[in-house]
């Protein structure tokens, strides 16, 4: 397995249902052995991408290549991929081992071999004791693991997971996330995981592909997406970014200022040529994380501004303050996250505070 070679490539793939387009000219490469998450709100086309790759639906235009060979028209039952469906889609009239062994038995693998590999797969998903149960006798998390075992027993090149954790409660979902990740490491198979939950995506993926309205907005590591979103949508979709609109100033080495209602904010542009190339005066946003914002001593200078605490929300280990900043005509709501303290927060609602963030923790997003 070499993470640098492409397993599967989508080239200008489009999909329409009747006259309604759902995917526009998608290009995407999936690397061998990676855990790639396709993330997007509902209606973004993320599930359609999975269904096209799995062969559940035909393409409208473009092509899908596996190891460089076009498989766009290969029928679903010939593709070396297996899917874990959102509602598990376990066969209710078969036992757990019947379900798991199904993919082998339709390929006429010998009974003994099937029994051996089913036992192996059930061991892997820790369901050895449940081999003779029927799906209706299992809990949600157990069904989920049966679905996974059923998909991986055929040793597919790629396992497609369609929001498999959506139906589970929070605690079980966390467990399953770790479980999936560890299994993926163990069997070294490429996973394509579709979800609308950004926390889930950040926790599991090697790379994340963010989709919106049938387009891929950004593809990168969770770290890149979190700290260097390339557009307003990604910046807003990934958690509670503070976005302040303004106009770009002249480039200063690896930094660039932006004139905003909060004053002049200097942000880092290192390794991002498109930000360096943008013309002066272009509309953009300064983006900085709630946890990058600090209480400051002075109100003067770059990246410094004052605001009034409108609301305080205790969130366990941290406390989130909502701050009203800027002038009355260009009011701006910001979020500040500080560690919680046992004797209550140092902040009080209604208080006016000075805030700042370091230039290297600020990021620019073109509007």
């Amino acid at each position: 397995m070499n993470q640098n070679t492409d397993l599967l490539t989508l080239r200008s793939v489009s999909k329409s249902y009747g006259k309604v387009p759902v995917l526009h000219d998608i290009d995407l490469s999936i690397r061998d052995g990676e855990f790639l998450t396709v993330l997007g709100p509902s209606g973004s086309g993320k599930t359609t991408v999975l269904r096209l790759i799995g062969g559940l639906e035909p393409l409208t235009a473009g092509e899908i290549r596996l190891d460089g060979q076009d498989i766009s028209r290969m029928p679903i039952n010939k593709r070396p991929f297996n899917t874990v469906f959102q509602d598990y889609a376990l066969f209710p009239h078969m036992t757990v081992s019947g379900n798991v062994g199904y993919g082998l038995s339709v390929r006429h693998v010998q009974r003994r071999e099937i029994a051996r590999r089913v036992a192996e797969a059930l061991e892997l998903v820790q369901l050895g004791r449940f081999a003779d149960r029927f799906p209706a006798q299992l809990s949600g998390g157990q069904r989920q693991r049966v679905a996974l075992a059923r998909a991986l027993i055929c040793q597919p090149r790629l396992i497609l997971l369609d929001e498999p954790l959506a139906a589970l409660d929070l605690e079980l979902r966390r467990q399953m996330q770790e479980f999936l990740k560890s299994i993926q490491r163990e069997i070294k198979t490429t996973f394509l995981f579709v979800t609308h939950d950004q926390e889930e995506a950040i926790g599991m993926a090697d790379r994340i592909c963010v989709m919106q309205a049938g387009h891929i907005r950004q593809l990168g590591t969770p770290h890149e997406l979190y700290y260097k979103p390339n557009c307003e949508f990604v910046a807003r979709f990934f958690g509670e970014n503070n976005l302040v609109a303004g106009k770009l100033g002249p480039v200063q080495g690896e930094q660039r200022p932006i004139e905003t209602a909060l004053g002049r904010l200097v942000c880092s542009i290192s390794d991002q040529p498109h930000l360096k190339a943008a013309p002066d005066g272009a509309n953009a946003f300064a983006a900085f994380r709630p946890e990058a914002l600090h209480l400051a001593d002075a109100t003067e200078g770059d990246n410094r501004f004052s605001g009034t605490i409108a609301d305080l929300a205790f969130a366990g280990s941290s406390t989130v303050a909502t701050i009203a900043a800027g002038s009355d005509t260009a009011a701006q709501r910001l979020r500040l996250r500080i560690p919680s303290r046992i004797d209550g927060s140092a902040l009080k609602a209604g208080e006016t505070v000075s805030l700042s963030f370091a230039p290297h923790e600020g990021h620019l997003v073109l509007a």
């Binding site: 559940l56 679903i76 039952n77 469906f85 889609a89 009239h93």
Partner: protein, 290 residues
């Protein structure tokens, strides 16, 4: 239950009345007549009047007389055949319906069920004229050269009863099979494809087993309706097409031997109840929830 306690007296009387009716109606109109039949089957007839002294004579006659058991057996075989024919014809039709999309599916289903709204007797007359010597079936078979001349094979015998009952009862087979096929989640079929199964494998290993409950209820439906029918054998069976239903009918209608008729009815009822139980047993699918 605690809610019932807080009800006003009037409301409580009303709910009591509803409960009593819910139990009383089936008891009065179903259970009591059945019990009366059972009781009558132990009486006898002398010179046209019923003797109200308990006797097993009717049952002894049923089991020893060389007429009744063979007819009974032949009738059961006939009705099983009708059920089999109906299933074999209805399954492809129901399967085809489920492959249709949206409006067409239900329009066609309604069309297949329309014959249920027509008069039973008129349908039998119509089928009889189709099967007759100068009927459509004979003319068609002669026209395409299968027969040299019209055949009397199709009317006024057992074949006629078999064909007519099958034709009449097919809608009762289509409906449960269609419903069970329609209830199979599409994702199960997609999952089967996804795991590498061919279309035939998916049908044989997923669709067919999951639709068996519908097949079982269809079969028991058709069997029960066929075995209780005396009108069809009467009208298309002629002399050779003698079924148990006709014997029953003659005991009540012409021989006026109600106790013996009741005993025969009890025998029939036992078979019917068995058929319903078997249908119910296989009609329940294992772990239907996904």
């Amino acid at each position: 239950m605690s809610k019932a306690g807080s009800m006003q007296p009037r409301e409580r009387r009303l709910s009591l009345l509803v409960t009593v009716l819910a139990f009383a109606l089936p008891v009065i109109f179903v259970l009591v007549p059945l019990v009366i039949f059972l009781v009558y089957s132990f009486f006898s007839v002398d010179q046209g009047t019923i003797v109200y002294a308990p006797t097993l004579g009717n049952y002894v006659r049923f089991f020893t007389d060389p007429i009744f058991l063979p007819v009974f057996w032949n009738t059961v075989v006939l009705c099983v055949s009708v059920a089999v024919i109906c299933i074999l014809l209805a399954y492809p039709a129901a399967y085809f319906l489920t492959t249709l999309r949206g409006r067409w599916r239900y329009a066609l289903l309604m069309l297949l069920l329309v014959p249920l709204l027509m008069s039973y007797v008129i349908k039998i007359y119509a089928i009889r004229s189709i099967l007759g010597l100068n009927g459509f079936l004979n003319k068609a078979l002669v026209a395409i050269g299968i027969l040299q001349q019209p055949s009397t094979l199709f009317v006024f015998n057992m074949n006629a009863i078999l064909l007519t009952l099958s034709l009449l009862l097919i809608p009762f087979a289509i409906l449960p099979i269609f419903l069970s096929l329609e209830r199979i989640p599409q994702t199960l079929l997609r999952a089967s494809d996804d795991l590498g199964a061919s279309g035939l494998q998916t049908f044989l290993r997923i669709t067919l087993p999951l639709s068996l409950p519908g097949v079982a209820s269809a079969a028991s439906f058709v069997f029960v309706l066929a075995i209780g029918d005396f009108l069809t054998p009467q009208m298309v069976g002629g002399i050779s097409g003698f079924t148990f239903g006709r014997i029953l009918y003659s005991q009540f209608g012409t021989a006026y031997n109600w106790p013996f008729g009741a005993a025969l009815s009890v025998a029939l009822a036992i078979v019917v109840i068995c058929a319903i139980l078997i249908g119910e047993r296989f009609g329940r699918s294992r772990g239907t929830s996904v």
